[in-house]
Symmetry: C2
Subunit: 338 residues, 2 copies
Amino acid sequence: MTTLIDVAKVAGVSRATVSLVCRGSSLVAEKTRLKVERAMVEVGYVYNRSAANLRSSLTNTVGLIIPDIANPIYSDLLTGVEDVLNPLGKAVFIADTNESQERQSHFLQRMLEMRVDGLIVSMVAGTKSAALTQYIHIGVPVIQVLRMIEDAPFDYAGINNRLGARRATEHLLDLGHRHIGFVGSATSPSVNQVRYLGFCDAVRSRNLSAESMPVITCKHSFAAAAVATKQIVSVPAPPTGLVCYNDLIAFGATLGLYELGLVPGQDISLIGFDDIEAAENWRPPLTTMSIEARQIGRHAGTLLTNRMKNIDLPICSMVSEAILKKRDTTAPPKTKAQ
Amino acid sequence: MTTLIDVAKVAGVSRATVSLVCRGSSLVAEKTRLKVERAMVEVGYVYNRSAANLRSSLTNTVGLIIPDIANPIYSDLLTGVEDVLNPLGKAVFIADTNESQERQSHFLQRMLEMRVDGLIVSMVAGTKSAALTQYIHIGVPVIQVLRMIEDAPFDYAGINNRLGARRATEHLLDLGHRHIGFVGSATSPSVNQVRYLGFCDAVRSRNLSAESMPVITCKHSFAAAAVATKQIVSVPAPPTGLVCYNDLIAFGATLGLYELGLVPGQDISLIGFDDIEAAENWRPPLTTMSIEARQIGRHAGTLLTNRMKNIDLPICSMVSEAILKKRDTTAPPKTKAQ
DNA sequence: ATCTAATTTTAGATCGATCTAATTGTAGAA
DNA sequence: TTCTACAATTAGATCGATCTAAAATTAGAT
């Protein structure tokens, strides 16, 4: 495998000049640059990042640690992070922890070993801030995204889950629903709890009793959500609308309703959360609260960029609001007469 | 940041010994190992992979290039690859090309620059074998997975799509269906074409005319599949069963049927392909051809391991068969009498 | 032609590990 | 005691880039 020296020899310049060309420096004269670039092609030169990383203080590498790559919000998030960081020449390395503490600490360690310039993390539920002491100690910037762990002195990009869930519920209330259920998920208990609080906020703001609203929590799968929904709906006085923890749960709920011969948006209203790509393509198109995950990814990228420039900045949070995407699964409740 | 030298000083041994401890060498005595490990903790040592990679011939790093991380079959695939490679101490770096040639060549280059020990790729549709000449030239093992490009002299792990689609269709034929539709997808035209050929194989093997079976190809979304399905079914003599390109298309088809007030598995039979996790959790649970993506990932990992040991092995393909998962969306066709 | 300032190029040290080959220590056999 | 294996440790060179500070070149002004 060829090195800078080989290129330098062929181009008739020094190693240092070739190195400058590699990095696109403006110091080198146009004529020389062309000469060097031709030589690089001629000898089949491949840049050696390990060598570069060893010497220089920056690796132009950023770690992204997320709990479940199969969840579309995280692929959107990734896209947003790349939107900001790729143009700056940073490569984003993804690690999927699968909600496992063990995998998470393994990846945290590995990324430290490869000397990432920064880290964006959505920590596994229950992670202690201590898991990140190495990073703090060494002074590598860490940004939290979507999920937040307690007492961790890091920037944060995410959404206001409580307010979002409140707005979702208010949407149903505004349509005239007075008996509304909440279908929760067990993936991230803390997020689920906060969204439930938002649900209660909305209900109470209309002088209704939150305690009288049916609530059910299920595992994070279509089947579990379908079963839970059938259960919550198969009672003497069923709710006329359901607020779902997220879109995936709402999809499961749809399937449950279909199984009972009910049509979402006609017989029972349904609202999701996240607005993943499939929501719009769902049948009927799903009303949901958009968190604009890609935008949140961009925020995280920006926060990281700022902190990499200046590690001493005061801690900063970018908490955006979920926005209502009114589609076809919500409508006024059926009146008794119908 | 501390180095081997700092650790060596504190432990009272040489740099070389510390290095051996890092790599878990059996050469170093138990007593010394403990002494060194204590010293590592004391000085807060963090291994520097760039330095190691520069000197040693192996980086213990493997690249995985896939077209769409949001597609569950690829996260299953990743899991399978890790099953094999993580125990060997190899880290798997994922890159999502998003079906973009440009992103793909960017990642191929970057992984070359980081000197991966090997590469597992599912190439963007239409990629030429030339995209990989650098790897061939340099002698880095490349394994193809799921998708295959022409004339590329690489090992391959995947499934027999043609036979799988044939078996899917035969399942419907065995149940008594004689008028069966094919709902294709435009994501990967080559795979779609091969699955369609399998469909034809089955139909013809029963002395039916493949040309008389309704075929429709749609974009790869729930909505598109729902629309396509409604279209294919809303004719005077609709098919009694549908073979879908994959599970996602089958999901969309389900939604289309529900919209028409039809129940999958009762009014119309439906079979998918892939057996992603959601298939079993679908309502009704989806009959599908399982490709066991995780197992394919393991195959790819094994092929890579073998080739890393010996680059001169003859080219090897591991083509597995999709297996029928009979669930609730397929049943004998409704007779006219019913 | 000479000097100054700006531009472009370069030599040599350096990053932090691993590798090779040689050295030291230790146990058992003669 | 001396020799032979074998186990454990190490010095010094090395990987291929970047950095620093100095040198060479060029352009512009006098």
